[in-house]
């Protein structure tokens, strides 16, 4: 029943056998032990499981692992540089208190990187619009938007 797939995750190629029904999020968390990607809602509503597939922000709970064969996935673990330097979005969430309980944070940051890449000059209103697929149950949106604003400015400068 198993399918052999090779997926490049955060720059490293992983070859593994998966059941066809395995969701990308389960493959990442349970087979690769990359537990930074969270499972929130099971209904494609919360955005906690957001990762990048070939550069696009997608929901890893709504994608099969087999569909990622031969493709590149980036998770929250792949944001930080090899030398431990935080990605500007991580630094900005840290400095602007962009998280409270932290559960939505990996998905928020992956969505945020997607927003900044697609709309580098997004206004605060556009950032809020683009976050429609990510829920923060602590309702910490003010600081999340401030963090994304700060990271976008930082990334535009560098």
């Amino acid at each position: 029943m198993g399918e052999t797939i090779t997926v490049t995750v955060n720059g490293t190629a992983h070859t593994a056998e998966v059941e066809p029904r395995t969701l990308l999020v389960h493959f990442l968390r349970e087979q690769l032990n990359l537990t930074g990607t969270h499972i929130g809602c099971d209904t494609s509503t919360c955005g906690c499981c957001t990762v990048h597939l070939d550069g696009d922000a997608v929901l890893s709970c709504s994608t099969l692992a087999v569909q990622c064969d031969g493709r590149e996935v980036r998770t929250v673990e792949g944001l930080q540089a090899a030398d431990g330097t935080l990605h500007p979005i991580q630094q900005a969430f840290h400095e602007n208190h962009g998280l409270q309980c932290g559960y939505c944070t990996p998905g928020m940051m992956m969505a945020a990187v997607g927003i900044i890449e697609q709309q580098p000059n997004a206004t605060d209103e556009e950032i809020r619009d683009a976050l429609e697929g990510n829920l923060c149950r602590c309702t910490g949106y003010q600081n999340i938007v401030a963090s994304i604003r700060a990271a976008a400015d930082q990334m535009a400068r560098s």
Binding site: M1, R21, T43, S44, A57, V66, G133
Partner: protein, 271 residues
């Protein structure tokens, strides 16, 4: 939850996909409707065929009269297409408002039509725009008006083995817009209305008010007969009996129809 056990194949051509679907596999396009249903076990296909490896199903091009949108073209591309914005602005409006950026990065125009959810944004706008789909099956290819495609909840007139390969949108100079109401960001559309205003009259269609997207024929008739917008709005729900649900009563949805028809009409007129 975890989907139930299934066989997976990835088609590399339309013919291969048609053969798999004819043999009983369920086509998987962007997976933004089917995957959640599989996770909740509302759907448990024994086999799925992934359409993402068929290059000719992706992309937007034009001929003299129509825009041809590959069925696997994602909502983000439809929303960003200048060609669609120019000739069928309401379709771009709808595509840009579906789900969230994550959903628009995966969900496809063909998948949205084939899934036939009565609250989808895309089918109503394509009906108002007079669009058709090209369906390919074991017996060849045929063209179906989107208006004739969806019959009721999650049900289409596609024959066994047929898949949607292309959506064809007439090129027009119509001024058009889509207006919808949903309770929270990313939530299902409660009611949505698409309006096209052209030299040959007004066409309008709505989602969320029946078991399928519907033409707003009474609204169209008043405007096309020279009546006022107020009179058209007063008749917009004629012949329509929305289902009451957790998202609102029938009366409330009829009220939304009027509000949104006015909003879409105003936006279309201003373009």
């Amino acid at each position: 939850m975890i989907p139930s056990t299934l066989e997976y194949t990835k088609a590399s051509s339309i013919d291969e996909a048609v053969a798999a679907v004819a043999a009983g596999a369920v086509p998987l396009s962007g997976g933004q409707s089917l995957m959640p249903m599989m996770r909740l076990r509302l759907a448990a296909p024994h086999a799925i065929v992934d359409l993402s490896g068929i290059p000719e199903l992706v992309g937007i091009c034009e001929d003299e009269d129509e825009i041809a949108v590959g069925a696997m073209t994602i909502h983000r591309e439809v929303a960003a297409s200048q060609l669609i914005r120019e000739h069928a602005g309401l379709v771009a409006d709808a595509a840009g408002g579906i789900g969230s950026p994550q959903v628009r990065n995966r969900g496809t125009i063909g998948g949205s039509l084939g899934h036939a959810d009565p609250h989808s944004d895309m089918p109503a706008t394509l009906i108002a725009a007079g669009a058709s789909v090209i369906a390919k099956g074991p017996n060849g290819e045929r063209r179906i008006l989107v208006e004739d495609l969806i019959t009721t909840y999650l049900t289409t007139t596609l024959e066994p083995g047929e898949i949607i390969t292309q959506v064809r949108i007439p090129k027009s100079d119509d001024h058009s817009a889509y207006a919808k109401f949903h309770r929270r960001a990313i939530d299902w559309t409660v009611v949505g209305v698409g309006v096209c205003i052209g030299d040959d009259g007004v066409r309008a269609a709505a989602t969320g008010v029946a078991d399928k997207p519907v033409r707003l024929t009474a609204f169209e008739a008043v405007l096309n007969g020279g009546g006022s917008l107020d009179d058209a709005i007063a008749k917009v729900a004629e012949g329509i009996e929305p289902h009451a649900g957790l998202d609102g009563s029938a009366e409330y949805k009829k009220h939304l129809l009027g509000v949104l028809a006015r909003k879409a009409h105003a936006e279309a007129s201003s373009r």
